[in-house]
Homo-oligomer: 341 residues x 2
């Protein structure tokens, strides 16, 4: 059987790569949230033992990769290739975090969709017969993101009600051509979608149309409906973005209310933790996938899920120049069965 | 025949994708250099008709993609997927440049190695049977890079002798599973290499060890020598970096002096144009490849070449934090024959 392009955006993998091992790491806020039992490491020190927050973010990537290697009984030489990136300018979380491993690297930039993008590309690499083992990795850090995108931390900037909280977290997933799974059976590549939202404090609204676009393509091209999945998770749309996606599908006569959740709404207790619209950042979907979701799949809680991280492809410069917010969403189908639809 | 991993970093493509069409664009300095006859468009306006330099860089990406589509008699619907990125924070050159095309996008970040990385991934995608047509695209802009990495332009910053000049240029290469070629026969994925150079005005020295590492892997894994190629081109090492690479290989008893060049030394007349150590930026290797080099291959001037763009994975923040400069190099073998070694 050959790899099959089901439509413009979706590929069905003829030999679905298996999740070999996975790992996640979080910070203090993540340790106080409802998913705290599903982390490999929770570190109360926001510097992760380093001197600066940026170096701390690199340390997170380093630790989470080491942990995924250890859990999979692998060493760096066993990884043929890694796909990784982050939110920092020039993706320095990745450059410095992965510097000492000596693993061939393709750097990716998909903003908060990075976990979806890197997992897609790792799966495509293995499915193409190019490699046996590949890793997908990303991170985000509240303090580096605030400093870079919004205000210096000591300024104590007031957040708007639609603002989201950048997760201090990282996740790593190692795929292999052999193994027990879950398996990556399909990937859907996103297109840039920009509906003209300019409020950089309302990312959920900006990214929701991209999530809708990619999920709609996935359903259309695989000829499936939301009810064919046990769980559908977007990355970090938060409260508002989640509502918009449900609403968009409702207009198409498609019911998303039963099994559609958002990692940004799962990672924190929005009320108790004063999280406003929810969690965000590359690390949000990365730590939820590589903890709660994959553990749940291995435990048989869900058999087939979609993970669809969304990214807002803006920068402070583009916002200053009054541009709207282009967004993208990359979706991956994970299934406990290789022989999926 | 199946795709074959020849070693840790190099893949030989069983069905080498063909270059379907290619295009490049440059600015004023590029129009005054020795390769000016090998551009599809040379624009004296550094804003490329836009209001800001960043928007101008996006306009370059837009124009160069449109040109490559037109030269290949394609429309955006014919492109299954695009791999693109740039040097700007959060790769906004790409996000805004490609926003209106509706083409599925995997964003990449490899700093100035982006042309090598995007071309590699596009070739791997096609070689895996996932798609028929894919594009690789990148850009850089002198004014956006100066503003972001060094000093605001109006400051009239003095440049050091080892400094390089960021090319205002973009290049796009469209690959297809069918066609006359040249063909992408091999790709070599780079590892991060960091020899401790901290001078952000001496990128050539920082990146040269990465170029050496990747080229050495390519030669070793394909069991070839420099003399097996008509031309070997790194991306933007400039004068000093080029010398270092030649020197490194000389120590291994390998002669690179005959056919090894660097795009950063080809794009400008270093003396007349006061270019110090040479050209740099994602756009440097992108415009040289998608003009002078591919035109030369089609004309039969060279039969088999290596293009090996190098990237410095630093940011101003990492330099302020006294970090050294991690670098990477992604190499691609282009040949007029599909049935290559």
């Amino acid at each position: 059987m050959e790899n099959k392009r089901l439509g413009r955006q979706t590929v069905r993998l003829a030999h679905p790569p298996a999740v070999h091992s996975f790992s996640n790491i979080g910070g203090k806020m993540e340790s106080q949230g409802p998913l705290s039992d599903y982390f490999d490491e929770l570190c109360p020190d926001s510097f992760f033992g380093a001197k600066t927050w940026e170096q701390g973010e690199s340390a997170m990537q380093q630790r989470v990769l080491n942990k995924a290697l250890a859990k999979g009984n692998l060493n760096p030489r066993d990884i043929d290739c890694i796909f990784a990136g982050d939110l920092l300018n020039q993706c320095i979380g990745t450059s410095f975090g992965l510097r000492d491993f000596g693993i061939p690297l393709y750097g990716v930039y998909g903003a908060c969709s990075t976990m979806g993008e890197s997992l897609s590309l790792a799966a495509l690499l293995l499915g193409g017969g190019y490699a046996h083992t590949a890793a997908a990795l990303t991170s985000s850090h509240f303090c580096t993101a605030e400093r870079q995108y919004r205000m210096p931390m000591p300024y104590g900037n007031q957040r708007t009600p639609t603002a989201q909280w950048t997760a201090t977290a990282a996740g790593c997933c190692i795929l292999s051509t052999e193994g027990q799974g879950p398996f990556v059976t399909h990937v859907t590549c996103g297109k840039i979608v920009d509906k003209g939202i300019t409020d950089a404090n309302n990312m959920g609204a900006a990214m929701a149309p991209a999530a809708y676009d990619t999920l709609a393509a996935l359903f259309r091209e695989t000829k499936t409906a939301p009810s064919d999945y046990d769980l559908i998770c977007t990355g970090d749309l938060g409260k508002l973005g989640h509502e918009i996606v449900v609403d968009f599908f409702r207009r198409d006569g498609i019911d998303m209310s039963r099994n559609y959740r958002d990692c940004g709404l799962m990672l924190y207790d929005l009320e108790k933790q004063d999280m406003h619209a929810g969690g965000s950042g590359c690390g949000c979907s990365a730590c939820v996938l590589n903890g709660y979701l994959l553990r749940g799949m291995r435990a048989g809680k869900w058999k087939r899920i979609i993970i669809a991280p969304t990214g807002a492809l803006l920068s402070p410069t583009s916002s200053f120049q009054k541009e709207s917010i282009p967004s993208i969403c990359h979706a991956v189908v994970l299934s406990n069965s290789k022989e999926d639809f």
